[in-house]
């Protein structure tokens, strides 16, 4: 039995979420099935999105970029996470955590703009390279923090103990660091994959003609093209893909996470 005071206290939150988040999503579903020109309900928009090669190519291209971003940020940040979690102590650890979390507070747009100026100066213009550099640059903190969080659970001095008992560097990585890193790798990869897959700012600012990923495609369909049906259907398709990947990842690895 839930007490009445709890229901009253939670009610404004629930009502606000229903009005501001769930009701708009009903509009999203409605327009993904409603053909405004012909005035009929249809599944054509979904069929278009999943069969039209133009849309499919954009989705696949975005997925490729997202996977590349995951791999690059993982490779770049794993040694950093290992250093902070296993080797840094006291003040240095706090300092490094502050250094690597501060970019969270600066918006993507501003970081992408700052990077664009710098790349412009060193002669890298808008294009695939600038797009990838921008993705990796912006997502480094999102991969690093989950990695650090899981590596920080390694009992202190276990590495020293292992070394004393004759373990080599390879043993330490294979038997201690990698097993402990797995949940962090999973959380970080899911986070970076989902966010970079639907990214709008970085492809638009840094990608140039190679920047036509799902984010800019949805923007074009909805705000520039007035094609609400296809835009809404595409937004739902990428949401379903995102939710599916989260559910699959967590079903599969639940035991490792908790």
């Amino acid at each position: 039995m839930v007490e009445r005071s709890l229901v009253i206290a939670v009610a404004p939150l629930v009502v606000a979420l229903l009005l501001l988040f769930y009701a708009p999503n009903i509009a999203l579903v409605y327009y993904s099935f409603y053909d405004r020109v012909r005035g009929v309900f249809t599944v054509d928009f979904y069929l278009d999105v999943i069969t039209n090669t133009v849309y499919l190519n954009v989705i696949l291209y975005s997925l490729t970029i997202a996977v590349a971003t995951v791999l690059a940020t993982l490779a770049l940040t794993l040694p950093v996470a290992v250093y902070i979690a296993l080797y840094s102590r006291g003040f240095e650890r706090i300092l490094l955590l502050v250094i690597f979390t501060t970019p969270f507070w600066i918006d993507f747009l501003l970081r992408a703009w700052a990077l664009k100026s710098l790349l412009y100066m060193v002669g890298v213009r808008e294009g695939f390279l600038a797009l990838m550099v921008g993705m990796v640059y912006d997502y480094i903190p999102f991969m690093l923090l989950p990695l650090y969080a899981s590596l920080a659970r390694i009992p202190p001095h276990i590495v020293d103990v292992a070394r004393t008992l004759g373990a080599g560097a390879l043993d330490i990585w294979a038997r201690i660091i990698i097993p402990y890193a797995v949940p962090g790798v999973l959380v970080g990869s899911t986070l970076v994959l989902l966010m970079s897959f639907t990214e709008l700012v970085i492809p638009s600012l840094l990608g140039g003609v190679r920047g036509f990923t799902v984010g800019p495609l949805i923007y074009t369909l909805i705000l520039a093209g007035d094609d609400w049906g296809r835009g809404a259907a595409l937004a739902i398709v990428i949401t379903v893909l995102s939710v599916l990947s989260i559910v699959l990842a967590y079903r599969r690895f639940k035991g490792w996470l908790l």
């Binding site: 902070i84 490094l96 600066i106």
Partner: protein, 260 residues
């Protein structure tokens, strides 16, 4: 070099790379040439230009008022719930709260655009503020429920000693919940102040916030003096410094609370 020293050197190199673009942006904002990469001497001209930049002033006022109203509104509503939830996991509430955090932002933005269009609401300050509040509510609730907001043993002690309900709320509940409230306010304020994607889809003609103004100018740099690369760097520097000072103040506050 030992593997520890190697890892350390690598870590600081990555840290340096992370801040290079921001440092470059700050330095460029003092360059008297309007173009990046051509150093023509030190100037504060671009900051003086901002004083005459009426579009930036309007954008600043819009960004600030929306962030203040949205963060206060969402934290108040979430706090009301969190104080009664007392750290329990309410599956039904959690199930409603997490989707706004997980859903791709661009899809949520499209949903808001379509809903406001369907209702025929004129898009501007109110629609942008409500759009920000939608996800701020979720972040505020999660922030407030992961940090401990209620200390029932202290409330019981105060009650035993004869304190009334108002006194308990004012002297026990509110002060102890403060770190959580400050954290939730800081996070929601910044999420709203720097939000771009949802704002882009919920704004109407002629209404813009700072990120929207920066976006418009960044896509067409050099269209006017206000949109020249280094004028934009000055504006972006100020916005970044604002966000950073809030972050530093927040971290300092949290560290001080943690030490007590």
């Amino acid at each position: 070099m030992s593997s520890k020293q190697l890892l350390r050197a690598y870590t600081y190199a990555i840290a340096l790379l992370l801040y290079t673009p921001i440092a470059f942006m700050v330095v460029s904002s003092f360059n008297s040439s309007p173009y990046v990469g051509v150093w023509e001497g030190f100037t504060t001209y671009w900051y003086q230009l901002l004083l005459r930049d009426s579009e930036a002033h309007i954008a600043l006022v819009n960004s600030l008022t929306i962030a203040i109203v949205s963060s206060t509104l969402s934290v108040s509503i979430a706090l009301l719930a969190a104080l009664q939830v007392r750290g329990r996991r309410l599956t039904a509430v959690d199930a409603l709260v997490y989707p706004p955090i997980v859903m791709p932002e661009v899809a949520e933005a499209v949903a808001l655009f379509l809903a406001f269009t369907y209702l025929g609401v004129e898009k501007g300050w109110l629609t942008v503020m409500l759009g920000h509040t939608a996800f701020n509510l979720a972040f505020a609730y999660v922030t407030l429920t992961v940090s401990r907001v209620r200390f029932e043993e202290l409330e019981d002690a105060a009650r035993t000693l004869g304190a009334g309900r108002l006194r308990i709320f004012k002297d026990i509940i509110l002060p102890l919940a403060m770190p959580g409230i400050v954290a939730a306010l800081a996070i929601t304020f910044l999420l709203s102040f720097t939000n771009f994607i949802k704002t882009l889809f919920t704004t109407g003609p002629g209404f813009y916030t700072l990120p929207i103004l920066i976006w418009n100018r960044a896509r067409r740099p050099g269209i006017s003096e206000f949109a020249s690369q280094n004028a934009l760097n000055a504006l972006a520097t100020l916005v970044t410094l604002t966000a950073l000072s809030i972050a530093v103040a927040y971290t300092a506050y949290m560290l001080r609370k943690a030490r007590r």
